[in-house]
Symmetry: C2
Subunit: 569 residues, 2 copies
């Protein structure tokens, strides 16, 4: 980037540096009103849901803008700087009114926010980054860079880059040609896709090599997981990009709570993709409310008899191994401490329904729920009738009883991180398709791409993708270093909503063609819509994970001696 | 509404009254930079597309907010006032940054906008209308009013109210039960829906009774058209709500340019729905660019021979009469003055493809384009090969040659007005489904509807629907009075995007169920997505109709003696 851009970046960073404490003040004030006797209080949190939701979104925009700018350096291209500035200005543009609304809600003085909003440097920055000229210049730079350009400030090591190349090639050459067919006819993912993915070791990415996987023996490699998931999702969210999430969650649960024998039995097989896995948590009456799950396990000779229903169990037909969160403690008052994780073995089925009967009379039947997108994986309604699971298949065996909630949670962070990567992959596909289409499609005598509005739209789509990628890879690094748990939910929140926005604009740029099933963007659009629903719905993440986390942190700050403040204003 | 609400409404109106001239100032300044030698200039308009797009959206938000408030009166319910205030505050919240960006772009002084933004009355209004308490109160009032509540300030005469009841009952009892089946299996709209609609006279709504229709003999009744379209669209955009648009456009073209004989031949038949109609304008290489259409008509003995392709011809299979915009002047330089409208008669076909051969060897074949929603109507690719159309089927016969563009335009305003009504119908369906679902669905031990965030979301969805309905019916009144042509595009722009937003939130409130094809909101979501694309794509309307209209008006104001201003700053 050039000297002028460097100055703009510094100016944007200075603004964000002023906004950060103003944001924290809102968090502190909200924490105070949600607190009773020194602790966050359920009813008060519920009462302030709207403000908490806004706070969570504000934190996502703020962190993404900060990260987009701080990751720029002298080696960054002009395009990278242009896009980071566009995102930062748009993010501040969204942040300021959110914070104002929070300040009004919490009766904090508005003056500091208004002063910032009226600052000449803010107006100058808006013109410089998001004025019509700047947007079209960014659009032109994007178009000139071509649709294979790498967006975001992402620095990858050699082995990860090699993997990226390999998986992108596989995605483009093998997955993409089958993606439309699988989507439009709601087919099951074929072995012609599954077998090469097994061979490439994708199902063992979060399992250490020493335990039979392809992950590192020491520490984490979330970056590799993100790279692989993003590359596969670019070709298809449903036929490739979402396969790894299941083995991630199950292998984490096993590593977290399994006995030595369970680990040695199952982890190498999971890593080999034989059996394939599925995760059964959600029940018809309970979505995000894990503590109320009611699929009942009854003690029998040498094991457990399962009765009840699960729903939205994605890939349950094809999978040979289901991770089933089961209520093994008949006392419902035990809540989430009455849950255990049972491993259900079953044959692998193609198609949309199955009915598996055990020799002793137990039964597990499944029926796929037709959905508007995310096809290929198939999400099943499951019904268990006196279905027997041996003690050996309880994760942690007797020592694991009642710990199912914690074992399940062990995989959730990785699942959310992966989902951010899935969103980035879908966005990249939608942006690239839009770049190609607007180059070819002529309107009023010139390619769509010759028009200022098209260039501005492409620039904003690219800016959003770049910011989400930058943040996703930054948080993957945090996970590798042992942190970033809340942030994984935060980037999931932002990237998934961003994927909805980017695919919406991509479809719009394609006009009628975008609405036709034969154009890939129509699939990106309906696929993207699932992202804000699964792996922690937007509202659940914003309120229960991010919002709550921010408020806990704010309380901690208030409590700490360097920042004394009253909890009872 | 009570005294406090009346004060809030007055305060909001005072703010909008301050914003209006600030908006006009932006329009004037933009008109100046887009002008050359006293007229709007193509290249300069293109250069300022981004600003023009923003101006169009700002005008939509501003007019909708003004209308929502001005239509309140002493008889308005508390709920109506709450929702109008929510929309107005959200609209101003969107307007202020848009205007700021325009002011920065156009180098206008920001101080007046910043002063307004920092005004204590604005902060007070935000808290009163869109604070968490206000939003949840509005959500509770909405829920208490029940899902059959009438939203928006819409006053209907007795006969229109009767029609509304009739069509709502028909939609609920006859259309709704078939809607899912038609959508999921992409069926053709069955006679069991078409025949009662014929019987109810829906295809003659824009044709005067004296010419065989069901419309008024004097003036317009756009209100009736909106009521009927909205009621049908609530049950299904694709299986009922979109049928009338075609007869509207074709009958307007006939009334605008047809000979007396053509009118007496065709209008009663169109009104009777026998034949059903379809409109063929768009071509594979030309979407919104009507002047470049190239389907070629060659003079033959007693008529025209058609060769070429059309695309996105909705309902072309079932229809027995196609309105085909044809280039009858071989000189391409004639642009839109080389176009004529030809009436193509063909058999009615069910299914997704047809191949019609004339005895003399002419051929018209069609193939439906599979789409993610808006199914049932089926949009066709059409191919004409030496297809013969007699002179008698040229609208206006020899006198109509070269006037096809104008005849086509005659129906566009009505088509856009109807599309706003379609959007309102889809939004109403999505909101009502969400109200019911959130009442039934329990999460963490209480119905979703018990939570503040759910109530706030429902309130904002309802506020948006109410504002769009209020504006749509207000503009229908303007059309009845002979005005409102640009405004019909403006409400189309706003209502269609609003339908995307409302159906998105409806799906989100349904969680996983919303993504399942068996839930109606999944259909509302994919159906709503077509609205911003057809009947004038969002970008085309914003730039070419609304933006251009605003700039023309601004130029007029600048030129007028009461408001002298230089055209050459």
């Amino acid at each position: 980037m050039d000297a002028q851009q460097t100055r703009h970046v510094a100016s944007a960073q200075a603004l964000l540096a002023r906004l950060r404490p103003l944001f924290e003040q809102a968090g502190g004030a909200l924490a105070r009103v949600c607190t009773k006797e020194g602790r966050l209080h359920g009813a008060r949190l519920d009462e302030h849901q709207v403000a908490t939701f806004e706070l969570a979104w504000a934190s996502a925009d703020l962190l993404a803008a900060e990260t987009a700018l701080v990751r720029l350096d002298a080696a960054s291209t002009e395009l990278q700087a242009l896009l980071a500035l566009i995102f930062a200005v748009d993010a501040v543009g969204a942040l300021l009114p959110r914070l104002e609304a929070l300040y009004i809600e919490l009766e904090l003085p508005l003056a500091p926010l208004q002063q910032l909003g009226a600052d000449a440097s803010w107006a100058a920055l808006r013109g410089a980054a998001c004025g019509a000229q700047a947007l079209t210049a960014a659009g032109r730079a994007l178009v000139a860079a071509g649709d294979t350009v790498e967006l975001g400030s992402v620095v990858l090591g050699e082995s990860v880059l090699m993997a990226q190349n390999t998986f992108r090639r596989f995605a483009a050459d093998v997955v993409a040609p089958q993606a439309e067919e699988i989507h439009r006819h709601d087919k099951t993912i074929p072995e012609s896709l599954l077998q090469p993915m097994r061979d490439m070791g994708v199902f063992g990415l979060s399992i250490p090599e020493s335990l039979g996987g392809t992950g590192p023996n020491e520490g984490e490699d979330a970056t590799m997981m993100v790279v692989v998931t993003e590359a596969l999702s670019e070709a298809s969210l449903a036929a490739a990009g979402s396969l790894i999430t299941r083995s991630e969650i199950l292998s984490r649960a096993l590593m977290s709570g399994g006995t030595a024998e369970q680990k040695s039995t199952w982890l190498p097989r999971i890593a080999a993709g034989d059996p394939l896995c599925a995760i059964a948590i959600t029940e018809p009456d309970f979505g995000s409310d894990v503590a109320s799950l009611s699929l009942k396990g009854t003690r029998t000779e040498g094991g457990w008899s399962l009765n009840g229903a699960k729903t939205w169990c994605t890939f349950a037909g094809k999978a040979g191994l289901l991770m089933v969160v089961t209520r093994t403690d008949p006392d419902r008052a035990a809540g989430h401490r009455g849950l255990s994780v049972l491993l259900v073995e079953k044959p692998s089925y193609d198609g949309h329904a199955f009915d598996f009967r055990q020799p002793g009379g137990g039964r597990l039947s499944g029926k796929a729920i037709p959905t508007i997108g995310y096809r290929g994986m198939h999400s099943f309604d499951l019904s268990f009738d006196d279905f027997l699971v041996p003690d050996a298949n309880v994760i942690g065996e007797s020592g694991g009883l009642g710990k199912g909630f914690y074992f399940t949670m062990a995989g959730m962070v990785g699942g959310r991180m992966q989902t951010s990567a899935r969103a980035c992959g879908v966005m990249r596909a939608a942006l690239r398709a839009s770049m190609r289409y607007t180059a070819d499609r002529k309107v009023f005598g010139a390619p769509l791409q010759a028009y200022a509005l098209t260039l501005a739209k492409l620039a904003r789509m690219a800016a959003r993708l770049a910011a989400c990628r930058t943040l996703a890879y930054a948080i993957a690094e945090q996970l590798n270093a042992g942190g970033g748990r809340m942030e994984a939910s935060l980037v999931k929140l932002l990237a998934c909503r961003s994927a909805e926005m980017v695919t919406r604009e991509a479809l719009q740029l394609h006009g009628g063609m975008g609405y036709a099933e034969e154009s890939a963007v129509s699939r990106y659009f309906v696929d993207a819509r699932v992202l804000s629903i699964f792996e922690g719905a937007e509202e659940t993440l914003a309120l229960k994970v991010i919002g709550r986390g921010l408020l806990e942190d704010a309380l901690e700050t208030i409590r700490s001696p360097v920042n004394p403040g009253s909890l009872h204003p």
